[in-house]
Assembly symmetry: C2
Homo-oligomer: 379 residues x 2
């Protein structure tokens, strides 16, 4: 990646954090951004968790990449998550590459970027690291914890780790643990990166290079899995890329090839290859029941938060069935949960694009939770 | 690949063949194998077409790899395609690497392997090249033309190019043209190979090396797409690979990772990377209607062959819907067609594994076609 991350908001997390791998860390940076204002009653704070390749720049223009925030469709003034009403917080996950403690940061022991000396982290670790940010911002209890994909996983972990720190949660397009197919797709991405000789067992940053070829292929894996078969067919079909007929070569004849190549090459400008390894590993290790002897019911026991689980009908990465399994577990533990499957051809990407039914559902839930939370606070 | 292909059956195709790219070729090798005996009436010949990474060694032990033939579940003595009754023929496709004319063969002009100087071929070209083999074997009309995946595409092309040369056809788990998602997955495989610096724009064989890393990643793409999400979950789930807990590293913690790594590394021993480029390209270019002004009805016009189209319920690479589109087109052109969707969780791979309902369906159709064909011949 070619971006500078020096001038972004960061806190130093001084409190020791014992990671799932056994290592204890402290005094590490956590980068974040906020949108809107925290009101006096402190009943309007929403913590958004980002997905695999996201960052803390949810809305408006990302000051580092100069592109739109990754959830600008849902978050902003007058949007489903209305920043005129709500105080929206998002932190870059640890393991990431937008200012938080990650494999591209300098290891004080060696004065070189961590690379593979960075510990393997989990979704739990990512979530625990964000507690300090809520304390820093003076927020005892959130109105809502939400996110899509890996962001949804974090919102679920947040509720199990901090059952009293959010009034509601909206996990979107996720699951309670990674399926074999999801692990396989992540492993494919990792192997593509590690197969690139420039990767050099993670030490490429010392030479100030990136395993661009491997990282681009890894990104293509993602983009294929984020679209549905039908959505891809409607968007690209067999349309040719600015040519009248096949060229009988290995150039990008089809629009879908050109799209994937572009997505791959654009991505290497903004993301660190080792971060992809670490974050996909965290996703694969994700199993909400792991710290509860394999019981999801135990994981959600005494859960006070009110849940809305949202899935997308054409999402084959985190299917409706997998999302329903979250609902079943929440029901079994007596939690307050509703569920909505949005009918769409846009696949897993649906939560990131302008999908009116989804945005309406999200807005309705959050606004109604705000009224309830306000009432609870006033009592 | 490390195998010798000198001692396998090959014919020299002397008749000039105009390829779809415009180039005309002649005097090229076509490798093949046969099983069973051609009977006197010559009513028992079945031409099997192989898929992307297949070869002519359908049944028994592959003499080159010393492993079982790729369709040993369906073809052999007493099997669905019973070699005690039928004469089974299979040719290695041009563009392949098991003795037929392909990118690893020596270009007489340069005395070096073709590499990217090999012309981009199509499924039509592959099928046309096999006409000479039928002539060589003295077969005017086949009992059946069949194959799965790319083999199914070839069986469809065979019927449109040679409408009078087969009595029946069984295209299995295929489509009338490659979808955007299929093109995307193939492009991913190609990019993985071309991203490997050892590939050197296709010239690696001159240095007697193979882009093993890229080819292994390409193969992993295939294996993910050949299994269904449910089948993968049942086979692997989140089972760990000979360990009690996560190792917090990038080794293969999960069985599914270990499986994919093994499939990738085993494949590079038996296949040529450039052949993957050429054959996937041919699949992406596949569009049965292309030579019929975009009309599938025209493609199947005057079709005499009797068809059985077979799909698998959990195949997400060539869905039942895509297979039904073949049936719809055949119906619209007045052809004799039946259709069977096999209910299974085994995904696209179903045609290669022991799937009793599929094998029974295949056997029933071929045996009944044999009776009809025999009667027709006797009249």
């Amino acid at each position: 990646m070619n971006y500078k991350t020096e001038n972004i908001k960061t806190i130093n997390v001084s409190k020791p954090l014992k990671l799932d791998c056994g290592q204890t860390i402290k005094d590490f940076p956590l980068a974040y951004e906020t949108y809107g204002k925290l009101n006096e009653l402190k009943d309007n704070a929403i913590l958004v968790f980002h997905a695999l390749t996201g960052d803390q720049f949810v809305s408006g223009i990302n000051p580092v990449t100069n592109k739109e925030g990754w959830w600008v469709t849902a978050v902003g003034p007058g949007k489903a998550i209305d920043t005129d009403k709500y105080f929206v917080i998002c932190a870059n996950v640890i393991g990431g590459c937008m200012g938080s403690w990650g494999p591209k940061e300098i290891d004080k022991k060696t004065n070189e970027p961590y690379g593979l000396n960075f510990p393997v982290i989990t979704i739990r670790d990512m979530v625990k690291a964000q507690e300090a940010l809520l304390n820093h911002l003076g927020i005892e209890k959130l109105l809502c914890a939400t996110g899509g994909s890996m962001g949804g996983m974090q919102s679920l972990e947040f509720c199990t780790i901090f059952p009293n720190r959010t009034f509601s949660a909206v996990p979107i397009a996720c699951s309670t643990s990674h399926s074999a197919q999801n692990i396989a797709l992540n492993e494919l991405a990792r192997q593509a990166i590690m197969a690139d000789p420039v990767w050099e067992k993670g030490k490429y940053l010392i030479k100030n290079v990136q395993p661009k070829n491997g990282l681009a292929v890894a990104r293509m894996v993602g983009h294929i899995s984020y679209l549905s078969e039908k959505g891809m067919q409607e968007k690209f079909g067999r349309k040719l890329q600015e040519k009248a007929d096949y060229e009988f070569s290995f150039d990008a004849d089809f629009q879908v090839e050109s799209y994937l190549r572009h997505q791959g090459s654009a991505f290497v400008e903004r993301f660190d290859a080792n971060s992809i390894l670490y974050i996909t590993r965290a996703m694969d290790y994700f199993d909400l029941s792991k710290h509860f002897k394999g019981s999801l019911t135990q994981a959600f026991k005494n859960q006070k938060a009110k849940f809305l689980v949202i899935s997308f009908s054409s999402d084959w990465l985190y299917t409706t069935k997998e999302n329903k399994d979250i609902v079943i577990a929440l029901n079994a533990s007596g939690a307050d949960v509703s569920f909505s499957e949005i009918k769409t051809d846009k696949g897993h990407d649906s939560f990131l694009v302008d999908e009116p039914e989804f945005l309406k559902t999200l807005k309705g839930f959050i606004d109604s939770m705000h009224i309830k939370f306000k009432n609870e606070k006033r009592i």
